[in-house]
Assembly symmetry: C2
Amino acid sequence: MQKHNFSAGPCVLPQEVLQKASQAILDFDNGLSLIEISHRSKPFVDVMEQARALALELLGLEGKGYKALFLQGGASTQFLMVAQNLLEKRAAYLNTGTWADKAIKEAKIFDDILEVASSKDANYNYIPKGFEIPEDHDYFHCTSNNTIFGTQIKKFPNSPIPMVCDMSSDIFSRTLDFSKFDLIYAGAQKNMGPAGTTLVVVKEDILGKVSRKIPSMLDYKVHIDKSSMFNTPPVFAVYTSMLTLQWLKDLGGIAAIEKENEKKSRLMYSEIDLNPLFKGFAAKEDRSDMNATFTLVNEDLKETFDTMWKDAGINGLNGHRSVGGYRASMYNALSLDSVKVLVEVMSELESKA
Amino acid sequence: MQKHNFSAGPCVLPQEVLQKASQAILDFDNGLSLIEISHRSKPFVDVMEQARALALELLGLEGKGYKALFLQGGASTQFLMVAQNLLEKRAAYLNTGTWADKAIKEAKIFDDILEVASSKDANYNYIPKGFEIPEDHDYFHCTSNNTIFGTQIKKFPNSPIPMVCDMSSDIFSRTLDFSKFDLIYAGAQKNMGPAGTTLVVVKEDILGKVSRKIPSMLDYKVHIDKSSMFNTPPVFAVYTSMLTLQWLKDLGGIAAIEKENEKKSRLMYSEIDLNPLFKGFAAKEDRSDMNATFTLVNEDLKETFDTMWKDAGINGLNGHRSVGGYRASMYNALSLDSVKVLVEVMSELESKA
């Protein structure tokens, strides 16, 4: 039976990527497994260089002073690395959800943080707008997509100071002028690959301006100097990310996948809006194309609905405990057909009820 | 042609582990890939718990106040986490090689370090002995096996202060009283699994004694409280490590593999000592059972020898640039047969020369 994986992350990956990754575990280089060759061997150094180049190419950031790194520790480690590398006096943060809030908490260990705006009072169901970014701060930090709440920044501010963005859950999903950002980071496990590596794309000229001593593993400059191979990289996660980026490039890049993603989210949200049994959680203008959050109007239907979608081969639809209800995560590798199956189940529930 | 992988790490892993890991990429849970299911799903939570339990069981540390964690960032991240979590005033380090030296460098960012002894003056070809560990220091740090130089601590001191050990390159290879150590860490990519996760085994009662604020991702207590799932773990690396630990347990545990490792290293070193064409690098009493370092007495034979071992299917024999010559890494998953093939090539060279 075909599976429809709506998991919020780790999440669905392209079938051809899974096939190649599986094969590489058995035989990658001349009979040796990907995970038993030296990371300093040419075959793996080539993988790392290709992954870094593909990331910059897909984002349109080649030759613009940016470097791409594949690090470890997830976005949670970036919360502290950003502050450690860039925070000298004070930084400005936009609080749009659980992860933004955690980024603020970690940065506060280093210094003072200004929250320019927050939607915490409304359980983060919208994106604050019209806030000011003060010119005398070190950087402005925001979260492009809020996986838990299903909101997404549609229009980014023109920041007078370096703009840092956690794009963990929507990177490579939509066209943006990525050169507006000075540092972008993203855990791999949504649109890029398996858990275990984190992409950091950083404009080199914002670095080297803080006075504190930075431990080597937390210093972007160290990783740049060592071409993202300061120590043994997470070989499998980098390779599988490279395969996924190559898959995206072959499809036509971000512009091509964006069209698919728009089709999927339009279909999903139109069902949420038209079907009287369901109610969307996020403010309409801020709805995420990646994660649609919704609840049943009548909780009595829960058991029936849960049985129906599970029977249809759907997986990972339960909402996060902070919101409840359901969350349909529609990352790059999820097909329009999978969304059609879900929408069909939802309208079938309506005809039954 | 059969491969004989003497790589220093990432390195050879058991064939059955590679088979299972490869299969899990295609289908791990009911048709879904290991790397596309939620890390909070029961099948993966079970993997993490099993990996943690196996690590403690194999080390004989169950029920003795220790916790096992599977973190990210390699041993290099442990260099700073150890200091950040344990260093209040001053710590004592034993300098036995490149990695020990790096551990000292990272700890110095936090506070003052006493080097109790060093073999740097002799290019780390021996393990210093007879040094004193001062009682008024926060902890004593040592490196059990020096991958680059091929030395290994055979007898650990009785430390009057908490003993921290980087066991990256010999963990699970020999029986030791592991309860002598208060914190053990090891990058997975030698005896445990693929690159991308790091085992930390820590006695809980040594934590919580420093006054500095510790960022969440660098705080052992945070990871313990969250059962090693504070954020998305490196799913594939943890699963493959769990498989390798299970393989070791099925073989009979550390005591069983130790016997095999002794056979391999005895055969290897006897060839190095008896064959007049080769010379061992490390002091005899400190020779590592994991990494045998040796050079050709007559460099003119290099081309011939290199062709011969490559033709025999041997891989990864080149020494580290700090030592030169050759390094035969004989981790748990390398068979005695592979060592026999290498030794045969070495004696063939002798009969030719």
